[in-house]
Amino acid sequence: MLGLEYNTAVVLAGTAALGLAAGSTGSLALLRRRALLADALSHATLPGICIAFMVTGSRSFAALLTGALITGILGVLVVVMISRRGKIREDAAIGIVLGTFFGGGIALSGIIQRRGADAAQAGLDSFLLGQTAGMLLSDAITIGVIALITVALVVLLGKEWKLICFDPDFAGVEGWPVRALDLLLMLLITVTVVIALPAVGVVLTAAILIIPATAARLWVDRLGPMLILASIFGVLSGSVGTVISAGTAGLPAGPVIVLSASAIFVVSLLFSPRRGIIARARSRVAQRRRQERRRLLGSIYEGIEESHVPMIGEAELARRRSWGPGRMRKHLEKASRRGLIVWGSTGIALTDSGKTLAEKIVRDERIWQQYLLSQAQIDRDLIDLDAAEIGQILPKAMVEELEAVLRAKGRLPGAAAIDTETPGGAS
């Protein structure tokens, strides 16, 4: 009993270490845009596993993984060779290698099966969809040790790989051995894929590299934190998947591990503070509110400016803003709750703070309009006045110049003279 638990614990530690390695190398693979190459690679290992079995005649862990490593590397080389000639693009090359090598693996395993090697065949089957339950202690230790070496390499060479991930040309100019580093990274990815095979399986191994890294990318923008977070996600999905699959009969470990990672991904997708769906929806709502408030205040100010009466009627405001009565009422209520307007039965007036804000809004907008009229050669859609002060967009001298023009026309908010010149149609 105790032995079994000890065994489970070691397997768990092995898959956790695997998750650690997959998270960190997966991040680099993702940033180097090798995500789907890893998929071709993992499928390409199947014939190697079968050949190793046929040659050695035993389910020796080291032999099978060596076979996997050899055809995996071969698969990557074929992808590179095919796509380098230019006519066949990399995506097609990946598909070709994935399908052909995997087909070869299936055919070879069929041959093995029909030779009557049933017991061992079961061992090969576990490589397709992954199996942690039957994993030997020594296997788990092997996986764990290689995984830790991989992580150590990522830590050691992280800075160099960061450089070739983000700016390989610059790295080359600086004299870094880009090709050698790239090759080493590819080798690292290959090794990670190979040690993930027994637990996750040929079909899904790419996922354990891709998903934790992609999830981590949603939370952070820097490589260091991304590596750490992706590793944590990897460890989590590896160990949770192992525990669930070990506790449920007939459940292959690979899909469970992958679904655990997917769950983490979905949570990240929803709740990441800056890139998450919820945060983005909230910021979009906030932005729209701010924009509508600006429009409301701007319209009130311009109405007052034209009529020379410090108040504007609801009908007049409705004419200026093509909002329905319900929507108008909502916006007015919000603004009056913020203390920007006074909304009485006779009409709407600006409070002091509302007036200050409205003046600034209209002023910025008119300066911007004037700028576009007189000197704009840029696309006005590029600038979001809601998000920025006019002083952040245009140089100070230019703002003053534009202000002078507006003042001369009597259209500068806050300035004494008020003219009836037709306002422009800026929104």
Binding site: A35, K87, G95, G99, R114, A207, P252, S262, L269
Partner: protein, 447 residues
């Protein structure tokens, strides 16, 4: 087994199903490869799995329709989710696709293992195909007293649908595949065509999975299409070549699988890979070998011309018409084996008198050498006059370009330069071999 054994009673149904599945995938796959969507085929063929299983579980049998609807929904889900992650969440396209299809596939496997195994849906059949059952699993109807395999009927219907859609929307698919913005500006709705193609991919994947399995569908989707692009530069050519490759892969795959007694779908994928390898090496235009041969032929021609240039200039020097020393000719950097090959060809082609280090030129060799030197010097004039390149820098560019100017171009170059008589170094421009009448005053170097 013998090759003809493929057409006997036991094997014919399998052959029909295998060929139909391969052709089906190849038809849609040609478009996927051309539109750089090869991996979408991969993604969809993985992603349809949960839809298939759910459809199967709801219906409780292997009827195509519920599985098809489930798979179509899953395929659409794969595509839309990938698109959403890519566009709205700004996740790198490959990674987005990888996340979506592996997740769906994992879900599908778990569904099979947990729920479907008890109701006659064999996981290995879904994953790796069981075309071998085609002979047993016959359609309830009969055509001329013969009952075709059930999946053959399905595949034939789907093939007809795919073929019909493509024939009907040939122009639209052509334009949206190669120039989506233009298609949009003409009102062709490239997004709609994209969705339609994805729907067809899903349909084809579902119809074929029994034959080739959901993972190996990707081999049949991508490989024949890629072979097609190696063999042809026209859409129809690509599609026809892909069909040929698909049939070849299916027939050879089935034959080799029966010979080796192993999985048909696996050997079909391997055969497709083999056909691809052959096309990759031998395809007339884009193959590796013809490409190397063309380059060799070009190198050989350049070396030959350089040798002729040297010999002609030597002749010019000894029979001295010009008062200026001729420029030096062939550079020493051609590999020795190429030089020997070139000299051999010159000798066999009758351009030189003997196969020695410095043979005498025959009449024919003289003409070729004169043409080359003429092009060389005219180009030097052009560089000097029009681009103001200093005299010391004229030789090298001219030496490179001289091999690529044809007669017509040279004649026009000469006219453009007002029929000069001497190059910037003061060397005489040799007369064109055939155009003696045009420049009668000039005496050709040898009479």
């Amino acid at each position: 087994m013998s090759f003809m054994g493929l057409f006997d009673h036991a094997s014919l149904p399998i052959l029909i199903v295998a060929v139909l599945a391969a052709c089906n995938c190849a038809l849609v796959g040609s478009y996927l490869v051309l539109r750089r969507m090869s991996l979408l085929g991969d993604a969809i063929s993985h992603g349809v799995l949960p839809g298939l299983v759910i459809g199967f579980m709801l219906a409780g049998n292997r009827d195509l329709l519920p599985m098809l609807l489930g798979a179509l929904a899953a395929a659409l889900g794969t595509a839309l989710a990938t698109d959403f992650l890519k566009r709205s969440m700004r996740i790198d396209g490959d990674a987005a696709m990888g996340v979506v299809f592996t997740t769906l596939f994992a879900l599908g496997v778990i569904l099979i293992e947990r729920y479907a195994a008890q109701v006659d849906l064999d996981p290995s059949c879904v994953l790796y195909g069981q075309v071998e059952y085609a002979a047993i699993d016959r359609w309830s109807g009969a055509i001329f007293g013969w009952r075709p395999p059930r999946s053959a009927v399905t595949l034939a219907i789907v093939f007809a649908i795919d073929l019909g859609v493509i024939a009907l929307l040939w122009k639209e698919f052509l334009l949206t595949s190669f120039d989506a913005p233009l298609a949009d500006s003409l009102g062709l709705r490239s997004t709609l065509m994209h969705l339609l193609l994805m729907g067809m991919t899903a349909l084809t994947t579902v119809a074929s999975f029994e034959a080739v399995g959901s993972i190996l569908v990707v081999a049949m989707l991508v490989v024949p299409g890629a072979i097609g692009t190696l063999l042809s530069d026209r859409l129809l050519g690509v599609i026809l070549a892909a069909q040929g490759a698909a049939i070849l892969s299916a027939v050879f795959g089935l034959w080799s699988a029966e010979a080796l007694d192993t999985s048909v779908s696996g050997m079909m994928a391997v055969s497709a890979g083999g056909v691809f390898a052959i096309a990759f090496v031998f395809a007339p235009k884009h193959g590796w070998l013809p490409h190397r041969l063309r380059r060799l032929a070009l190198s050989l021609r350049i070396v030959e011309e350089d040798i002729l240039g040297v010999l002609y200039r030597k002749h010019e020097k000894t029979h001295g018409t010009g008062d200026v020393e001729p420029e030096s000719g062939a550079p020493p950097w051609h590999p020795a084996w190429l030089q020997i090959l070139a000299r051999l060809r010159l000798r066999l082609g009758g351009a030189v008198e003997s196969f020695s280090q410095e043979p005498a030129l025959t009449e024919r060799g003289m003409i070729r050498g004169r043409r080359l030197v003429r092009r060389h010097r005219l180009w030097e004039i052009y560089l000097s006059d029009r681009l103001a390149i200093p005299a010391s820098h004229l030789h090298d560019p001219a030496h490179r370009v001289e091999h690529f100017l044809d007669e017509e171009f040279t004649r026009r170059l000469e006219e453009k330069l007002d029929r000069p008589e001497r190059d910037p170094h003061g060397r005489e421009i040799p007369a064109p071999p055939e155009g003696k009448a045009a420049r009668q005053k000039k005496r050709p170097p040898r009479e």
